[in-house]
Amino acid sequence: MFEFIEYLTRGALVGVTYGLLAFPVSLLFSTTGSVDVALGAYAVLAAAVLYVIGGPLGVIVAIGVAVFASILVGLISLRLNRPGHIDHIIAVLGTFGLATFIESFILTVFGTNPMIRQPFSTFWDIGGIRVSPQMGINVVVCLAILSALFIVLQKTPFGRAMRASAVNPVGAALNGIPVKQIWFATYVLGGFLAGVAGVLILYTTGADYSTAFNLTIWGFGAAIIFGMHGPLRGFAGGLVIGIVQALSAGYLPGGWATAIPFIFIFVILSLGRMNQIAATGGRV
């Protein structure tokens, strides 16, 4: 029983990072109807840059690089689509291409070695469970960012404009909202959050060049479990994905541990969750 609780705790602590990645997935989907497959690549790129530079400067540069990559994707998306004339497949393929490019870049420059930093040598003892203080930092950072974003979305004119663009892009344009700029801002926000997630991942579980796609899938899975409706649901979804991962790693052979979270996401999709999302334009 103690072992089970330990897995639950560790899984939830890792899952907060997936919750951070789930936010831009749901926000971008509901705003533009598209998915940025490169989100995980931004995170790994940020982790790689921080791994090399290190320190507070490294954190700033790492997040900056992730934002820069997302700016490229945002510009490409603006070029490809405009309100009322959208081809989501082209936009998704564009982000897939950039994700592949970033993975190849990381592989070429940083090689196949795992990148990880352990800033703390001491651990907290919570009811007999040893937890790195970094996990506590992750939880605080994720909750602070998601709370701030939630307030911005619900209480500010910019947030209202973003929600209006998500619900009715043509109507938003008729109300003077620069919808394309809002879309662009959403891509950039996704890059920022993925950059922060990358920093936290480097200090927690580490990453290598091949982690990018997994992170995108886990962020996507976290976003769809409870519906692509808001950051809190995505955050809760992130916890679930983290827990499934931890239980799989704890109780199943190594090969299955990687596969189970994906199978879990497929099960969620097969239950009709995605159909519901598609039918409602992401507003479930």
């Binding site: 404009a161 619900v167 043509v170 109507g171 938003a172 109300n175 003077g176 909202i177």
Partner: protein, 259 residues
């Protein structure tokens, strides 16, 4: 709000309506197309302050496409001058910021998942903060039901209430020109009176109104002039005298271009 729009709005609000003045909106050679299929072929029209121009015509005449092209949400061409400035090549949101408000068919400018208050807030966002409360009061005085339904989601309002919200939303930025596509469509007759009063109040305030309608009797109650579109071209123009006989006018366009 841009300085140019402010100037337009201030001058319109301050001056008594005078339909002999220069037009607030002047459109020349308006075209509309879907991909390569052209549906509106070079329409000219203008509307002065305090005036309502009705665009009449049967289904498929090109009324909605023309208004969409003027508002910037349907591909097309031609000049759209507001206060002398051609905004015909601008995006829809830039046109809205320069004083052109469009209420599409089926209230397509509202946000069903947001509350009535939030919807109106979206409409007010282009105004200077100091002007917003006065404009909100103006909208809610015109449509008091919106004050009662303040917290309700727009998606649960009745058709008439949604239409009032759509117009209120469009008025949020104190536009120089209000363009409406089939505002009476699917509404109860009781709502017609509310809309008629609202349009008269807006004309008295000096707005230029451009409105597409299939309901000729309703259009004849509110319009000062009209044009009839058929197959994307103007087949007839006229004024108040013709509008006194809406049945005859309806016969003209129901009979098509042969009349």
């Amino acid at each position: 709000m841009t300085r140019a729009t402010e100037t337009t709005v201030q001058s319109i609000s301050a001056a008594a309506p005078d339909t002999a003045k220069d037009p607030v909106i002047a459109c020349a050679g308006i075209t509309a197309r879907y991909n390569r299929i052209s549906v509106v072929h070079g329409v000219d029209l203008e509307v002065r302050a305090g005036e309502l121009l009705a665009v009449l015509g049967p289904n498929g005449a090109g009324k909605s496409s023309m208004l969409g092209a003027i508002a910037g949400i349907v591909s097309g061409g031609g000049e759209v001058r507001i206060g002398g400035t051609d905004i015909g090549r601008m995006s829809a949101n830039a046109r809205a910021a320069r004083g052109l408000s469009f209420v599409p068919e089926q209230r397509g400018n509202i946000f069903p998942a947001m509350s009535v208050r939030e919807n109106i807030d979206v409409g007010l966002r282009l105004l200077d903060p100091g002007e917003r409360e006065a404009q909100r009061d103006f909208i809610l005085d015109m449509f008091p039901i919106l004050k009662v339904r303040d917290k309700a989601h727009a998606g649960v309002l009745s058709g008439g209430e949604q239409q009032m919200l759509a117009i209120g939303l469009a008025l949020g930025r104190n536009p120089a020109v209000l363009v409406l596509d089939e505002p009476s469509q699917g509404l109860a007759p009781a709502v017609f009176d509310i809309l008629e009063n609202a349009f008269n109040a807006l004309k008295a305030r000096g707005l230029a109104l451009l409105l597409a309608e299939q309901n000729v009797p309703f259009a004849s109650r509110i319009a000062d002039r009209y044009i009839i579109l058929s197959q994307g071209e103007v087949m007839r123009r006229g004024g108040k005298d013709d509008l006194k006989n809406p049945e005859e006018l309806a016969d003209v366009f129901m009979g098509g271009a042969d009349n």
